[in-house]
């Protein structure tokens, strides 16, 4: 089978997976909403109108208003921008740095590998979220610090994945052949080894995005992430909590957006794994 043919079959198999296609649609709709937010939002997401506060969903405010009378639908539309920004940038950060570290460690081997991976393990001793909490508590809250906190957490995770993949191919014949014809280490790493670990990194990257969505919301919910009045979904949930008895829609509706975006990435990642990693697929 030629390479093109194989790729074509993979795309076909991916598109046959109904859940994966639903995932794509979910993520794509959030991306379009994020891009079009200024044009499709019925109101200004920051404009307060205390006369209309805590209104349940109705005709003029499809998803109701919050405790300041701001339109929840518009805030969710604009919130998708921040959710996607944090997710994509933080995952790219950990993917690029982590993969490079893992590639280098795995290819070099020996004491260098041992040293680097022990260093990475040190970060992995913290339970989920605790390292990020520690980082933002030191750097202070805010959009970019949140991205950094999630990104740093992911570096050792990607490094481990990449290294694990590299050591299974570093001694294969085609690598030895490249070395025999005098290719430099950097060239072997980037041109010969890297393309072979792309599928794994891709699957892992998409699944990490599902996780990053949840991490951003968690940090923001705790008051350590994106700060008000920026319309972030988790911030809407957190600040609506005081009115959960009289106006439960304020803190329940934005959670659906978080769930759907994270679910979208999970479905895509799952579908990709079935296609790209035959060992795991059933």
């Amino acid at each position: 089978m030629t390479f093109q043919n194989k790729k074509h079959r993979r795309i076909q198999r991916f598109l046959k997976n109904r859940l994966a296609v639903i995932g794509c649609l979910l993520v794509l709709s959030f991306v379009s909403v994020a891009i079009l937010a200024p044009w499709i939002s019925p109101m200004d997401p920051l404009k307060q109108n205390l006369e209309d506060k805590r209104m349940a969903p109705n005709k003029s405010h499809l998803l109701g208003t919050d405790q300041f009378g701001r339109d929840i639908l518009s805030r969710i539309f604009f919130g998708s921008r921040y959710a996607l920004l944090v997710t994509v940038v933080s995952v790219l950060f950990s993917l690029i740095i982590g993969t490079l570290i893992g590639l280098f460690a795995g290819y070099t081997g020996g004491h260098v590998e041992e040293g680097i991976m022990r260093g990475m393990d040190m970060f992995l001793v913290f339970p989920y979220l605790l390292l990020s909490i520690l980082i933002v508590s030191v750097l202070g809250p805010g959009l970019w610090n949140t991205i950094l906190a999630i990104g740093i957490w992911g570096v050792p995770v990607f490094a481990r994945q990449a290294r694990g993949a590299v050591i299974t191919i570093r001694d294969r014949e085609f690598i030895q052949a490249a070395r025999a014809v005098g290719a430099s280490s950097i060239r072997i790493m980037l041109q010969h080894i890297f393309p072979n670990i792309i599928p794994l990194i891709m699957v892992f990257g998409v699944l990490s995005m599902a996780n990053a969505v949840l991490m951003e919301s968690s940090l923001t919910f705790l008051g350590l992430g994106i700060q008000p009045p920026t319309p972030s979904w988790a911030e809407m949930i957190a600040s609506g909590r005081n009115y959960v008895v009289v106006a439960p829609h304020i803190s329940t509706i934005p959670g659906i957006a978080i769930l759907l975006l994270s679910l979208g990435f999970n479905l895509i990642g799952d579908g990709l794994r079935d296609v790209l990693d035959p060992r795991q697929s059933h």
Binding site: M122, V125, V138, G223
Partner: protein, 306 residues
């Protein structure tokens, strides 16, 4: 086996030294003078410099690190300056609540995900399998704190089955434990399913079937036992997830555990308390991973560690 266990316990030492190191380094980045932060804005310069001496702030970083390690050896984590108490005493008070919460949640996770994973592995692509697949993906895509709020609204405020928040008997535990368990149930069900499906392709399963054993005996006796071995390794990671989730759950349900103490420490900028609490979290995680690794050798004697 004994040697392996001892070696694994010894391995905790460098890990903890590393964690303390990372925590100390990160606290170096806190803007401002910690001594001034402790004493507040009306402190005299003399008091600040005395406090700096007390906290060894005039010493180089490495010396301070050694002081902290020396304290650790005597179970002394320093003194919280906002609560005016020993950090170790605060932690000892909060720890049982967190262990209770995560322990019960873990039981829920195992009790739900092992049967669900096994049943769906036996009938892949059946309606049940698809429903469980979507539900478990949904469970692990849900933000923990939101699940908590939904459960609180439904079972606490509307149906009034359980108290909305607080700490007490088992009734208070139900909602937080279910909240914390939800994402891990999703994850573990998937793991159990794929692990059992892999085992079902093995030769010895065919042999068992050829002997004429019933399908349920093959599934529950032969496949389940071996299928659960890889699941045990992932239990450690799940516990790490749950410890992090506990921070959120405790914050939603006002559960007086380590998670709430962490949040308190961060917002009051009590860095000595932050240091202690994060360290205990890391220690808990390291110990559970250790237990998981050891139980792994017991469950599967074929594994020999050198």
């Amino acid at each position: 086996m004994v040697v392996y266990t001892i070696r694994r316990i010894m391995y905790l030492v460098p890990v903890l030294l590393g964690v303390v190191f990372l925590i100390s380094v990160s606290l170096e980045f806190i803007p401002g003078d910690p001594a001034a932060l402790i004493l507040g804005q009306f402190a005299t310069p003399e008091a600040v410099s005395a406090m700096r001496e007390d906290l060894h702030l005039n010493q180089p970083f490495f010396v301070r690190y050694l002081y902290y390690i020396r304290g650790l050896l005597r179970a002394d984590l320093g003194r919280s300056f906002t609560l005016r108490r020993e950090v170790s005493a605060e932690i000892a008070e909060a720890l049982p609540a967190t262990l209770e919460l995560t322990g019960v949640s873990m039981m829920i996770v195992l009790l739900v995900s092992i049967p669900l994973g096994t049943v769906t592995a036996a009938k892949p692509n059946s309606t049940l399998d698809n429903v469980v697949r979507v539900l478990s993906l949904g469970g692990l895509s849900m933000p923990v704190f939101w699940t908590g709020i939904l459960l609180m609204l439904l079972f606490g405020l509307h149906l009034r089955w359980f108290p909305v928040c607080g700490y007490g008997g088992i009734r208070y535990l139900v909602l937080p434990a279910v909240t914390l368990a939800a994402p891990s149930v999703g994850m573990m069900t998937r793991i159990v399913r794929s692990s059992i499906m892999e085992v079902l392709h093995e030769d010895y399963i065919n042999t068992a079937r050829a002997k004429g054993l019933t399908e349920s005996l093959v599934l529950y006796k032969h496949a389940l036992r071996n299928g659960l071995i890889p699941v045990i390794t992932l239990l450690g990671t799940q516990l790490g997830q749950m410890l992090g989730g506990a921070v959120l759950t405790e914050s939603v349900f006002a559960w007086p555990g380590l998670g709430r103490l962490t949040i308190y420490a961060i917002f009051s900028r009590d860095f000595i308390l932050i240091q202690g609490v994060v360290l205990v979290f890391a220690l808990l995680y390291a110990i559970t991973n250790l237990l998981v690794d050891i139980s792994y050798t017991i469950v599967n004697p074929a594994i020999v560690y050198d």
